[in-house]
């Protein structure tokens, strides 16, 4: 298999936009092409993530739609849908296409638009990622899924609402350093703890926002990447799945798909959790970050809440997590999230992250979770 590098990244500002998701993707893609110093004619395929376009924009067939709006209508394109992990799944398949020798330059991206519909509507559409016959008719929501995980984690390990709040405070502190972030203001533990319950024990400030935004990456084979500045190498990329129904998951305090995907990605790269300098992981809810830091092997099961509270995952801590602000502060346009996390890690490894730079970051990890924890992707990155 051939080595694959990321040679260009582009991300729109996340938040409210009055443009279609295809337009948001196209802006990010042009930035990624400029960053890669490569012409659009070099692109041989587009792998694209978009989740609720059918609901919020009445738009299916979003792959060729995105390619047309960018201005590369003739490249083969496929839209991936693995809920919130969609563009990370698109990324993994693009890596395989280049590694297999099928293409030399592939564009990966994703975009989402949801702020053009009401919160009640988007709450309903996001719930479509849970089972339509068994769980949706009960009134299960996305925060509800993670509230069930949070309660199980609290019960088993004594994790507290204050420890979860520490994750939100930390990610807002990081987001305040990121000009592309939806929220660029700091918050306090008290603000989180006093915010209204959405799905007990999760409160409004435990939840990431609804966001519009786009992200794009230019991937290249080693031969092409060697001609470009600062290629960042893909050292491993793995996906794992788990049961759809919450009742079928054996232990709600854990996410087995994270553990399986991480094990595979570590094996591919020959690295372990101690070798990682910076992490972008899926903090759709504060408890999701705590459980992910455990599943990725950064901390022992049950130790993630205390680690967050002690500042071990802050910029300047022993393993900085979500220097971009994470989904919580940077925002979560679900189709774009995986690609945006990778863009942040590439920027960190290049040493170009400005005030949120993790000193000396050489190796980074991205983790993206889909919906009800039934999909997880983990990738590892490094430099020469």
């Amino acid at each position: 298999m051939r080595r694959v590098a990321v040679i260009g990244v582009g991300v729109t500002k996340f938040g409210l936009h009055d443009r279609t998701s295809a337009e948001l993707f196209a802006e990010a893609a042009q930035d990624a092409l400029t960053d890669a110093a490569i012409p659009a004619t070099a692109i041989q395929a587009l792998y694209y993530g978009n989740v609720v376009g059918g609901e919020t924009e009445h738009q299916l067939h979003t792959g060729p739609q995105a390619a047309s709006v960018l201005g590369i209508p003739s490249v083969p394109t496929t839209r991936f849908e693995t809920a919130c992990a969609s563009s990370h799944a698109a990324f993994r398949h693009a890596v395989m296409e280049i590694a297999a020798g099928v293409s030399d330059v592939v564009l990966v991206g994703g975009a989402e638009r949801v702020l053009n519909v009401s919160t009640a509507e988007s709450t309903e559409y996001f719930a479509y990622a849970s089972d339509a016959v068994w769980e949706q008719p009960l009134g299960l929501t996305f925060p509800g899924v993670f509230a069930l995980i949070a309660r199980a984690h609290m019960e088993k390990y004594g994790t507290t609402e204050a420890q979860m709040a520490a994750v939100a405070v930390k990610n807002h502190r990081h987001g305040a350093l990121n000009p592309k972030a939806q929220f660029q203001k700091q918050i306090t533990i008290d603000q989180v703890l006093r915010s209204a319950y959405v799905a007990d024990p999760l409160k409004l400030f435990d939840c990431c926002p609804f966001s519009d935004g786009g992200a794009a990456l230019v991937l290249a084979s080693e031969e092409v990447a060697r001609r470009h500045r600062k290629p960042v190498w893909v050292l491993g990329s793995a996906a794992a799945s788990d049961w759809m129904l919450l009742g079928d998951k054996r232990d709600l305090s854990r996410v087995p798909a994270t553990e399986r995907a991480a094990a595979a990605a570590y094996r591919q790269s020959g690295l372990g959790p101690r070798d990682v300098d910076v992490v972008e992981l899926h903090d759709c809810f504060t408890i999701a970050e705590i459980v992910a830091t455990e599943g990725l092997g950064l901390f022992e099961p049950g130790a993630g809440g205390r680690a967050a509270e002690a500042g071990r995952t802050s910029l300047g801590g022993e393993i900085p997590v979500n220097p971009s602000g994470g989904l919580k502060a940077k925002g979560h346009p679900i189709g774009a999230t995986g690609a945006a996390q990778i863009a942040e890690i590439v920027t960190q490894i290049r040493g170009e992250a400005g005030p949120r730079q993790v000193d000396g970051a050489k190796t980074g990890l991205t983790h993206t979770l889909g919906g009800n924890t039934a999909t997880v992707l983990v990738s590892l990155f490094g430099r020469d």
Binding site: T119, V133, P137, G139, Y197, G247, D248
Partner: protein, 129 residues
């Protein structure tokens, strides 16, 4: 054999009639909530329907305060993953249990619940409680 012996439609018809039904693997004894084509433990298809007693305890719960549109009138309401005595678990809506009395480990009993003309899984107070 082409379909799970208990389809989704059959499962919820039984729910409406007051019966929770699982599948038991005739080869290895694995239990599953239907529909399931192959046994995930031994990968054969030897399922037999098994009537569940409907008794279990709360493994985890949440109180939904911001609900999807179709359920907004019901909020706040509690959802729980209930571990049934036979060993399988299932998500259900809690009914007739005060929200401040809901807790992990609380014994509950299955009851059919119709939400918007759709039969769903409900759990009420255990008869023992």
């Amino acid at each position: 054999m082409t379909e799970s012996p208990i389809t989704a439609r059959a499962f919820f018809e039984r729910v409406r009639a007051g019966q929770l039904t699982a599948l038991k693997c005739g080869s290895c004894g694995e239990l599953a909530i239907p529909p399931r084509q192959l046994c995930p433990a031994c990968h054969t298809q030897a399922w037999q329907p098994l009537d569940l007693r409907g008794e279990g305890t709360i493994a985890s719960f949440t109180i939904i305060r911001v609900a999807p549109r179709a359920h907004a009138g019901d909020a706040p309401y509690a959802l729980a993953v209930v571990k049934l005595r036979e060993g399988v678990s299932i998500l259900g809506r809690l009914v007739d249990i005060p929200l401040d009395k809901v807790g992990v480990g609380l014994p509950v009993r299955f009851r059919p619940l119709v939400i918007g003309n759709q039969a769903t899984v409900g759990f009420g107070p255990s008869s023992a409680a």
